[in-house]
Amino acid sequence: MEILVCARRVPDTSENEIELNSAGNDIERDDLVYSINEWDNYAVEEALQIVARVGGNVTVVTVGGEDDEEILRREMAMGANHGVLISDDAFRGSDGRGLATILAVFVRKGPYDLILTGVQAEDGGAQVGGMLAALLDYPFASLVNSVEVLDGKLKVSREIAGGNKEINEIDLPCVLSIQTGINEPRYVGMRGIRQVASIPIPTPSASDLGIDPATVGQAAAKVKRVDYFVPALGKGAEMLQGSREENIDKLLELVAAKGGLK
């Protein structure tokens, strides 16, 4: 099975406090710790596990700039066979549809049977996988939390409300968006990353892929972010500002009053 995983490098929200820059038009990006989007890492692990069972290759692709290469190397250190960095100034400012358009062109030029994306990235859009499938006219399943390979098709489970699972059969080729918790992604050490440091990573541009710049990037985007802001708090919590001892005493009092001690 030839598997393509679409991945993205994002600021790691578990490592950073996200703050606004002074102009308010972006988040403060200096000193941010970046990593692979959490969902995408599960997708790469899933691809590796599928290939371990049925054979094949895993390619990880991202649309971005040279800074984004580090996540490709990281996923190659996990075991992905190839990394591809699709890069062109014309792609800057693409909305979800723009990204899906670029990826769809790339998929059509390759041998891929199965395309995986993460459910969502830092913008919570949860859109690129579904759009990509529709552009390719492939079947799609979102929120996938298990994959079994059958003959010419897959048996996949989707996560629905309340922790229940919806089991589906889906024909290949198809696109799946992968949910966190589907597997336990393997650990990657610095040593592993050094070992793949010299493997060349192709960087196809818009013209290499034959993408009309007018269909992607800022100009084609129909959805545009104007700014970032932190909404004024509603009522908000009463913040306990004392020393730790004082806070503990106060909290105990409050919790007891609310029936928290049984």
């Binding site: 929200t13 578990s14 606004l20 988040i27 979800g96 549809r97 899906a100 459910v119 913008d123 919570g124 859009g125 949860a126 859109q127 579904g130 759009m131 529709a134 079947p139 799609f140 399943a141 979102s142 929120l143 048996k155 996560e159 629905i160 409300a161 309340g162 922790g163 229940n164 089991i167 589906n168 889906i170 024909d171 198809c174 966190t180 918790g181 336990e184 959805v223 545009k224 700014d227 970032y228 802001f229 932190v230 708090l233 509603g234 908000g236 919590a237 913040m239 306990l240 730790r244 001892e245 806070n247 503990i248 005493d249 909290l251 105990l252 409050l254 919790v255 029936g259 001690l261 049984k262």
Partner: protein, 328 residues
């Protein structure tokens, strides 16, 4: 202004809460709009949903077909592409079905997709102005969307308060004959219901709930000790389950359990909407988080900025101390 539709999710003959929320969202796009509900399914369940929807929508489009008995997003997408007029605006709730349907539908309709909308500010010409969140709710953004060729919009559940205005008495229009033959390349097989766990967190009135801030499996004991001292149970957010530190049955949220405790101690939980959606019954929420800007502080009653790995053990000691004193 384009015609506005709302796709209504339903289960066993009951429309989802989003049914009335989507009316409110439609009115934000166009105060003069009278949105049309679309429902798919079959049999008596579908008829029951149609008749309830008549009280909030002036028109209800019913698409009945045996193959639509289970809501398969691929089939429903094909049906919607057949019935929706060009340039329509379609609203659907941002949950597991909407996420499955909406992005691909927008491509097939050649319209603009806007995801997980919290606030609709209005429309200027062909520009829709909305507010979304990024980074798990840590920051919001104003977004401008070109809806000149229509739009598919997923709406955050609970973000729009249902209107109190006089109920409609809508008509049901049967559109079933317009959809033709639908063939899916993804076929629904069955639903597997979540396993019950060792502890039923839905039955507890006090929950010590831990998130990614607990940092490692061994630290779960810190929360368990506090829970034991309080007479509470330990629940958690999703990353704790993903990492296999606790069973799935302990997870609070849209893809976990809905809990209704009296007191909820959120420890190292940032406050993502999928988590908060699982906390019902207006409990007293305490947030302990080392990040003073964590969104959880917006919904908590009491907040403490501290390192939970240090705070919780000291709090546990204090609870135990108090117990011994009062036992004497």
């Amino acid at each position: 202004m384009a015609r506005i539709f709302a796709y209504i999710v339903h289960k066993v003959g009951v429309a989802d809460d989003s049914a009335t929320e989507l009316v409110a969202a439609a009115k934000k796009i166009d105060p003069a709009a009278s949105p049309t509900a679309i429902v798919t399914g079959c049999g008596a369940d579908l008829d029951a949903v149609c008749s309830t929807l008549r009280s909030s929508y002036s028109e209800v489009w019913k698409i009945a077909h045996e193959t639509l008995a289970y809501p398969n997003a691929e089939l429903i997408r094909k049906a919607l592409v057949k019935v929706l007029p060009q340039g329509s605006i379609l609203l659907v709730a941002h949950e597991h079905f909407g996420i499955d349907l909406a992005p691909g539908l927008s491509i097939k309709l050649n319209s603009t997709f806007v995801s997980d909308v919290l606030v609709i500010e209005g429309v200027d010409g062909v520009t829709l102005r909305v507010v979304r969140q990024e980074f798990g709710g840590q920051v919001s953004t104003h977004v401008r969307c070109d809806i000149s060729s229509g739009a598919v919009i997923t709406v955050r559940p609970g973000a729009f308060k249902p209107l109190e205005s006089a109920p409609a008495s809508g008509s049901v229009v049967d559109k079933s004959s317009e959809i033709g033959v639908l063939v899916a390349r993804r076929r629904y097989l069955e639903t597997v219901v979540a396993e019950a766990g060792d502890v039923d967190i839905t039955k507890h009135s006090v929950l010590v709930s831990i998130g990614r801030g607990i940092q490692e499996k061994d630290n779960v004991a810190i929360a368990q000790e506090l829970a034991d001292a309080l007479g509470a149970a330990v629940s958690c957010s999703r990353p704790v389950v993903d990492a296999k530190w606790l069973e799935k049955s302990r997870q609070v949220g849209t893809s976990g359990k809905t809990v209704k405790p009296k007191v909820y101690l959120a420890c190292g939980i940032s406050g993502a909407f999928q988590h908060l959606a699982g906390i019902k019954g207006n409990p007293f929420i305490v947030a302990i988080n080392k990040n003073p800007k964590a969104p959880i502080f917006q919904v908590a009653d009491v907040g403490i900025v501290d390192d939970l790995l240090e705070f919780l053990p000291e709090f546990t000691n204090k609870v135990r101390e108090m117990r011994t004193v009062s036992a004497k």
